[in-house]
């Protein structure tokens, strides 16, 4: 899909993002031996983690011979470039990162933060998983999800339209609706 298959030295990057939140459970999970092995078994070569406000530091791995290199950073003004160059995205359930990824048509695993107080975010991820736009996991089940997933089975998401909302507002305020 993104041309990562050609060439011997082709890289396949997994990008992990937690947005502006603190989600150590996710960072810890992707840093675990189990998940890293599963990722390299699936043919991924690089793991890049955007760890946000979390305090858990993943272990950096670099080098030509490593099956999976690991790198991390805290924040970036825009994650668009990382999303574009990634072959798989593992994200927290924030709707910002979810829709930014879906619009790029990239395979996405959403991991729900079970420590949040009012977790209406999980509703969105569950619904989108049911409609087969993404895969849905909890930190404990992430390795299983990676093992079972087939990115080809995902259905592309068609974006919504803000016009009806604006028309409704104009109508309410007594302005012409078009």
């Amino acid at each position: 899909m993104d041309g990562a298959e050609n060439g011997e030295h082709s890289r396949k990057m997994v990008f992990v993002t937690v947005g502006t939140t603190c989600f150590d459970a996710l960072v810890k999970t992707v840093d675990s031996q189990q998940v890293r092995e599963e990722l390299s078994r699936k043919g991924y070569t690089d793991l890049l983690i955007q760890m946000g406000r979390g305090s858990y530091m993943p272990s950096k791995v670099s080098g030509e011979d490593e099956p999976l290199t690991v790198d991390y950073f805290t924040f970036s003004p825009s994650i668009a470039d990382y999303l574009k160059s990634a072959s798989l995205i593992i994200s927290h359930a924030g709707s910002g990162s979810i829709f930014e990824t879906l619009r790029l048509g990239k395979p996405l695993i959403v991991v729900v933060n079970e420590d949040l107080m009012d977790n209406h975010q999980s509703e969105l991820a569950e619904e989108l998983a049911e409609r087969k736009h993404l895969f849905y996991a909890r930190p404990q089940t992430l390795h299983q999800t990676i093992q079972d997933m087939s990115p080809e089975s995902l259905i592309p998401y068609s974006p919504g339209n803000p016009m009806p909302v604006v028309r409704l507002m104009n109508k309410f305020l007594g302005f012409p609706t078009d």
Partner: protein
């Protein structure tokens, strides 16, 4: 005797004051949900409350197609701890300016960007959020007084509650009327509001 008189006056005055207050509240509530037949003004001072992450993305998708000549000037408000949302709004406003210039229309810089104290951070406990909510409320009252919004568009409870509450208070006191639009987030799927209009998805 004096004391008795005082008490008698209050026995009379208190129900009257309460009644006036209740009538005022009912009056404001009645008119709050009512659409305007045809607008008397050409432009409306619009306050746009930005949440974080996904909330901002949804709000900016509205701003992208909103009639800029009606909803002007536009004042964007975001939490003081949120460094990203106002930047994104500024980028959008600049691109709208460019579009306007390219299509030959003369555009004036019509956007302002303000930060506000936030009532509750994601993950903050309910007990400590009482104190922070009071500070946020005071700041919101000050901003409402300064801006005097005619339209408020919001979609994230955290930052918009103090602003909407003070806008409502201004309506009660007759200090200024504003129309508040709350746009529900795409992430809220299970809880549907009976009085809301569901017209589509923003994202």
């Amino acid at each position: 005797m004096e004391k008795d008189n005082d008490r008698r006056i209050w026995c009379f005055m208190l129900p009257v004051l309460v009644a006036i207050f209740v009538i005022r509240v009912l009056y404001v509530l009645y008119w709050t949900g009512k659409p305007i037949g045809s607008s008397k003004t050409h432009s409306l001072r619009t306050l746009i409350v930005l949440g974080s992450g996904g909330h901002t993305a949804e709000m900016l998708s509205i701003m992208n197609v909103l009639q800029n000549d009606i909803y002007t000037p536009r004042i964007y408000v975001a939490a003081a701890t949120d460094n990203m949302s106002l930047k994104k709004a500024r980028v959008l406003e600049e691109s709208l300016m460019h579009q306007g210039e390219n299509s030959g229309r003369k555009m004036i810089e019509a956007a302002q960007f303000i930060q506000i104290y936030r009532s509750r951070e994601v993950g903050q406990s309910y007990i400590t959020s009482v104190g922070t909510t009071l500070i946020a409320m005071a700041h919101a009252l000050w901003l409402t007084l300064k801006i005097r919004p005619q339209v408020i568009i919001c979609n994230g409870p955290g930052t918009c509650i103090p602003l909407c509450a003070s806008a409502f208070l201004f309506k009660l006191l007759g200090l200024g009327w504003s129309h508040i639009f709350y746009v529900e987030s795409i992430a809220r799927l299970k809880k549907k509001f009976r009085r809301a209009h569901y017209v589509g998805c923003l994202m």
